[in-house]
């Protein structure tokens, strides 16, 4: 059991870390697409649609990500779909991300003054045209810092995918530890891995926020 060098551990963690990055990217890109659609429906759809979107957001925000992963993985199996841990993790994290981004973005859209909607309406723009040319560009400016900030939550969220057997950073750490039994070293390295991914993002989010609110005017 002692034939693991530190380099072996690091190398294995780095290899598995790739999957953490890939899963995060999938979850974030997928979550952004679904989240944008949900935001548009939430703001402009008919009331039953708005209500459904709100329910969706509340459900995903009000339950642990771990349960969502279990449901996606084992639930799909119960329903007769044989899906891989990959698919289950991607789907669950995408939905989770979309719910939070939808909520963040709704707040940003609502923060655009109502006079902007009225001006667009009076100039003849319909809902989608107003959104596209007037509201979203302004909401986007407001949305960047909290969105970048939330990406940190997504990265950390991918750690939970280890429980359904998806081999990413955390799962690799557990497996290495079973073989090498050096929990302190291994999990410290795992934590460091997440920190290296997340820290620049949270710094960047803070920088963007300062730039947005600090500089004062538009």
């Amino acid at each position: 059991m002692t034939d693991f060098t530190l380099w072996d551990i690091v190398r294995n963690l780095l290899l598995a870390g790739r999957w953490t990055v890939v899963l995060s990217l999938i979850a974030f890109a997928g979550g952004a697409c679904v989240g944008l659609m949900l935001t548009l429906l939430r703001m402009g759809g008919l009331w039953p649609i708005r209500w459904l979107v709100r329910l969706y957001v509340d459900l995903f925000q009000g339950t642990p990500l771990l349960m969502q992963l279990f449901l996606a993985y084992f639930g799909a199996a119960v329903l007769g779909f044989d899906i891989s841990a990959w698919t289950a993790a991607s789907v669950a994290l995408t939905l989770f991300t979309s719910a939070f981004l939808c909520d963040i973005w709704r707040g940003c859209v609502e923060a655009v003054p109502s006079g902007q909607w009225q001006a667009a309406r009076v100039l003849g723009l319909n809902y989608l045209q107003s959104m596209r040319h007037v509201i979203l560009p302004q909401a986007l400016r407001l949305a960047v810092p909290p969105t970048v900030g939330f990406s940190v939550q997504v990265i950390k969220g991918t750690a939970l995918a280890s429980v359904i057997g998806f081999v990413e950073l955390t799962k690799a750490g557990t497996m290495l530890n079973n073989a090498a039994f050096a929990p302190f070293t291994i999990f410290a390295l795992v934590a460091l891995g997440y920190f290296i991914l997340c820290y620049p993002l949270s710094r960047y989010a803070r920088y963007l926020e300062r730039k947005l609110y600090g500089a004062g005017s538009r």
């Binding site: 006079g115 902007q116 001006a119 100039l123 003849g124």
Partner: protein, 242 residues
């Protein structure tokens, strides 16, 4: 036939009846000032005219065409009725020329080159041609309001609604905006203005409408209306603002 014909217009917000039956006809080229106390329903009336608010009862016709009740799409409405707001509401992320070009390009699908030409023409009209590439935040209030007027004109509406367009301005900037409105009036633009600038209402408008508690309480040519008010409410109002 009048350009704008408003018939028995009613509007309530919940239990509050704000418009209690407005009848008004406006000829093409006419400049009408709407005055009245705060809360008398002036803005609501204007907002019904371009369907920013949906009234509960009554009809609005423009050039013999029904305008209300979903008879016109927002796109059609915007080519009939333009509006300028007290708070300018320019799009802060777009330059002056982009602000003015947006609706013609997006709504009317005017080719960009042509839209730009129209936009420059309108900006020239309001004296803002030199600031074409500035962002709204780089402009004074008076300049922003003049751009907002150009933006509304770029859709070539038949009527321009102005809701207290000088009220948010520093006193020294009011004149430049009123001057633009005056030149529009001289060109024959049909204008409906809610205003607290009584001198302007008297000098420029053809007709003044005094609103009181959701009714048109008194209306007439400015000279007579201001010097010989018929109702005590109007006398009081005139006294209160002098």
């Amino acid at each position: 036939m009048a350009l704008v014909a408003v018939n028995d217009l009613h509007k309530s917000f919940g239990d509050l009846e704000v418009l209690k039956g407005i009848d008004l006809e406006i000829e093409a080229g006419e400049v009408v000032s709407v005055i009245g106390r705060s809360g008398s329903g002036k803005s609501t009336f204007l907002r019904c005219l371009n369907q920013l608010e949906h009234h509960d009862w009554g009809t609005i016709h423009l050039a013999d065409q029904r305008l209300d009740g979903g008879a016109m799409s927002p796109g059609e409405l915007s080519q009939n009725v333009g509006m300028v707001f007290q708070s300018f509401n320019l799009f802060p992320h777009k330059t002056v020329i982009e602000n003015v070009m947006l609706a013609p390009v997006v709504v009317k699908q005017t080719p960009r080159a042509e839209a730009r030409q129209i936009a420059e023409q309108m900006l020239d009209k309001v004296g803002m041609l030199e600031k074409i590439d500035a962002y709204p935040a780089q402009l004074s209030g008076g300049q922003q309001q003049r751009v907002a007027i150009a933006r509304a004109l770029a859709m070539q509406p038949k009527v321009l609604l102005c809701d207290e367009v000088t009220s948010a301005l520093d006193p020294e900037l009011v004149g430049e905006v009123l001057h633009v409105l005056e030149s529009l009036a001289a060109e024959g633009m049909t204008l409906i203005l809610v205003t607290h600038e009584m001198k302007f209402a008297r000098d420029v408008s053809h007709r003044v409408v005094f609103m009181h508690h959701g009714h048109i309480h008194e209306a007439g040519d400015p000279q007579t209306l201001f010097t010989q008010p018929k109702t005590p409410e109007l006398s009081q109002f005139i006294a209160s603002i002098l």
